[in-house]
Point group: C2
Chain length 139, copies 2
DNA sequence: TTAAATTAGTTAGCCTAGGTAACTATATAC
DNA sequence: GTATATAGTTACCTAGGCTAACTAATTTAA
């Protein structure tokens, strides 16, 4: 087994357990991890159109439509007119901003437990590796 | 955004694009990445029962049943009697072993391209980080 | 300046990769 | 010898995407 194969093996092995447990953490906010990813984007980088969200998350437009619809029903986001009549800007509601901050606090111990015993520097290196792969994959 | 949040952000962002492209690579062998993961386990660690595969991959028994059924239809694996009449051991067929080696060669450039520009040492660190998280998550 | 092409978003229906509940058959414990 | 546990299967459900085909608005080009 090469070092590359081993890396991607571990990468894949972690995905389900982590996502499942994250979904459990998010249950009390009626959210799934995919929806949480949208909220994270909005709080970190401000309002975005649906196409922008799709490009950022590397998913297709119809997937974004559903995610945003669900977040809208929960009252966490709202859409406002964009720079032309086609575009919709998605932004957090006041309630949404409060909830996102609450969730971030709620998730903190979970994420810290997941990374327990890992030196900060190693987390940073691993983060850079993942980002680099993402860039490599998209040419 | 904390360093932990940033790590898991990058982790999640990479998942779909990578899996989608891996599935494209595996298309000519009529395999999906989930099925490939089973073949990888069998070639690396020898024959396993369905329950063992489930435990190793952190998925449920019915999911393994389906994966193994599909691999059986393709002629890549076969099941033989286990240590009692309930247990089935899943092992690669002769054809399966040939194919797995062929696929590993086929995937090599793809995986290397994905990790292009990443120092070997950083890959190792990232691999350890992922393995540690996996362990932390399962207590 | 109108016709063709492009872009933002939606709807409908599909797929992968899982999951749970409930079952059968065999094995173990009391 | 009955109760419990274990290996595997079947049926059905869910998350988190996908493509194709559409509408409405905008831009390009003839």
């Amino acid at each position: 087994m090469t070092i590359e194969q081993n890396f991607f093996n571990e990468y894949r092995l972690m995905y389900r357990p982590f996502t499942n447990q994250l979904n459990v953490q998010l249950e009390k906010y009626q959210l799934y991890s995919s929806q949480w990813a949208v909220l994270r984007l909005l709080i970190d980088k401000g309002p975005h159109s649906l196409v922008e969200i799709a490009n950022f998350m590397f998913i297709e437009k119809p997937s974004v439509t559903r995610l945003v619809q669900k977040l809208g029903e929960l009252g966490y986001v709202e859409t406002v007119a964009g720079k032309d009549k086609r575009e919709k800007l998605v932004q957090l509601t006041a309630h949404g901003e409060t909830i996102v901050q609450e969730i971030q606090e709620h998730l903190k111990p979970f994420l810290e437990k997941a990374l327990a015993g890992v030196p900060t520097q190693d987390i940073e290196i691993a983060t850079q590796v993942l980002a680099r792969i993402c860039a490599n994959i998209h040419q």
